[in-house]
Amino acid sequence: MFDALGQSGAAGQIGLWVGLLTSLALASMLLRDNTLARLAQHILVGAGVGYAVVLAVRSVLWPQLVGPLLRAPDASPWRWLLAGLLAVLLLAGTVQIVTGGHAPSWLLLAGAVPVAMVVGASIAVAMLGAVEGTLAPQFLRAAASGLVTGAPLTVVTGVLTLLITSGAIIHLRVNPDRDLHGAPGWLRGFVGAWAAIGRRGLWLAAGVIFARLVASRISLLAARFEYLAAALQQTGVWTWANRLWEALF
């Protein structure tokens, strides 16, 4: 935002024009869905992916894998394993693209092994982290600060938290008319009332999140306007428009 327009030289000018035109093309989506807006989206996605690929090759694959292998092939055998997995993935992906998804099954299976390793490791790490970093600390904190301390305000907060949390779970998981069919009326009424408290708690939380989301997106919109105003001035479009206006009126 701040000095995004501060690049000098030909690259800066090209970036300025591309940024201005892309922003305007994307903004034209407000009028209606159109080819220019779609083209701008494709440019953004394509440029982003291209940049990521170049960066991965330059800053990871070459210096950490290919370069060391070329310099000292015998120094680190595990790098050969990584290079092999990478080659299989590249081959599987390329064949998939070239053949339109009709790759041989053995190649798909071979390509699935490294992907499975990555996905499996990610899930294991994420699950352990969720328990260690969210579930356990949040549970312990709730247990420690709820009814145990005895301070009036804390007790009220703890009871409300318990009521709303359990009510939200009931609302999301239990339908009194369906799940408690045949149960006494008072029980269905009680569960329904509890679920109603949870439902209102969910609405309240959604409202708070929505309000902050609106604030966040308005910040982004204001930054876009600032960018457009600065780009229009730096490219000279604003000056041309002023001259045209004066000439016409």
Binding site: Q138, V214, A215, I218
Partner: protein
């Protein structure tokens, strides 16, 4: 039902839409080939006022009119006009009994298939190059797709509200998103373009901002700090506001910063922001040296969040990634998404115990409040208001350009939020009025 029905998911879209609002499919992808079919030609030859193929009006129906293609499932809806269907025989005329397949083998496969009633119903006539109007062609069931498929799914859905959506017309006009966008854009854009500076209001000091400032202020000179840079240009418009005062404060504290990012454009975004912050505290010739003194490393890490645990502990992996195995005094997470802060708190903080200060988008704050309450976050700065509150705590006086930028930001923010509030009130009022009218009409 007005609108174009998506051939892919069955969602009804506005008349002027080119792509489906739900699945993004091209709503006109079958127009070009369809135009060559006899149906499309017949449809084009109709006058604009003539009923469409699906509008079976009973007495108005004439023998020349294309027959009702959805007779089996017609529950009062008109068929979508964007997808010309193949005709079936007129409803008032009993369908000719389908001839039995010719017992003698014929070399013409197409002709043989044509004479087999019902066999090809699920297939597209165009693909087989079969003339649907050929003599002896049996009446076929309509192809089930688009809105029809949606109808059937809803009819058999156990959730009664799904069926109600179809049988009850909306009580009030549809919301036009475009107008909402336009109103909010004008509310934000006009004050910016015409340099209005009111209302600016008072900055709310949210819980966590003062604590974040205190955590940075307590750093000894030369302290090692790690910044997890989890935003890029897409959200820089908001996150730069948050990151700038925090980074400037780190410069003032003479910290040594290691920046790590899982986003390809993260390091470039960080480099730009650090240069900006350095220019705020030092004249231009010295700013570059200030930025260089602050940032020890600026790294892009591949592998996603799985790589984060490698940043902990006294391990070779950590030393190879960070260039040093020394312990960090403070971790700063600058993230557009609450999930990135959670990833750090789950995968790194439990292992190394480094205090964490988060600078986030306003949208992430409600989710992260629980981590602030539990003490897992040492400080929390979120949104434009958190950023301005943190900036107020810095000792350096405002420059004119900063003061103007802050006033512009606040004005645009307030007008935008006022416009949104007005739209919400208007929507509620309209809903209330239309609902009252609907109740009266019952």
């Amino acid at each position: 039902m007005d609108g174009l029905t998506c051939p892919h998911c069955g969602t009804v879209n506005p008349e002027d839409a080119n792509f489906c609002k739900k699945c993004g499919a091209n709503l006109h992808e079958d127009d070009a080939p369809a135009a060559a079919t006899p149906d499309a030609q017949a449809a084009e030859s109709r006058t604009p006022d003539a009923p469409a193929a699906g509008d079976d009006t009973g007495a108005d129906a004439s023998p020349a009119k294309p027959p009702q293609p959805f007779a089996l499932f017609d529950l009062g809806l008109t068929a979508p006009t964007s997808r010309p269907r193949r005709p079936s025989p007129p409803a008032e005329e009993p369908a000719a009994p389908a001839p039995l397949p010719d017992p003698t083998p014929t070399p013409d496969l197409s002709a043989q298939l044509v004479h087999t009633p019902g066999l090809l119903d699920a297939l597209n006539d165009d693909q087989l190059d079969i003339d649907p109007t050929a003599p002896g062609r049996a009446p076929s069931s309509p192809p089930i797709g688009g809105e029809q498929a949606l109808w059937i799914r809803r009819l058999f859905s156990p959730d009664p509200s799904v069926a109600d959506e179809l049988t009850q017309p909306p009580a009030w006009p549809n919301l036009r998103m475009r107008w909402i966008f336009l109103v909010v854009a004008l509310a934000v854009g006009i004050p910016l373009l015409f340099s209005r500076r009111e209302p600016t209001g008072t900055i709310q000091l949210w819980p966590g901002v003062q604590e974040a400032h205190a955590a940075v202020a307590a750093l000894p000179p030369g302290a090692d700090v790690i910044i997890f840079w989890a935003y890029d240009q897409a959200t820089a418009g908001e996150l730069d506001l948050v990151a700038a005062p925090v980074v400037e404060h780190l410069i003032q504290a003479r910290a040594r910063v290691t920046i790590v990012s899982l986003l390809p454009t993260g390091p470039a975004t960080a480099d730009r922001l650090v240069r900006h912050a350095a220019e705020l505290v030092a004249p231009a010739p010295e700013a570059q040296a200030v930025a260089r003194d602050l940032v020890a490393r600026n790294l892009y890490l591949t592998g996603g969040a799985t790589v984060l645990p490698l940043l902990t502990g006294q391990t070779d992996a950590r030393a190879s990634l960070l260039g040093s195995a020394s312990r960090m005094e403070l971790a700063v997470v600058l993230a557009a998404d609450a999930a990135d802060v959670q990833a750090w708190l789950e995968l790194v903080q439990p292992r190394d115990g480094t205090p964490v200060v988060a600078g986030t988008s306003a949208a992430a704050a409600p989710v992260l409040q629980a981590y602030w309450d539990s003490g897992q976050l040492t400080g929390l700065v979120s949104g434009f208001d958190g950023a301005l509150a943190y900036r107020d705590l810095l000792e350096r006086p405002y420059k004119d350009v900063e003061r103007q930028a802050a006033a512009r930001q606040l004005t645009a923010q307030n007008w935008g939020q006022l416009a949104f509030l007005g739209l919400i009130l208007l929507g509620n009022l309209l809903a209330f009025l239309f609902r009252s009218e609907a109740v009266r009409n019952v």
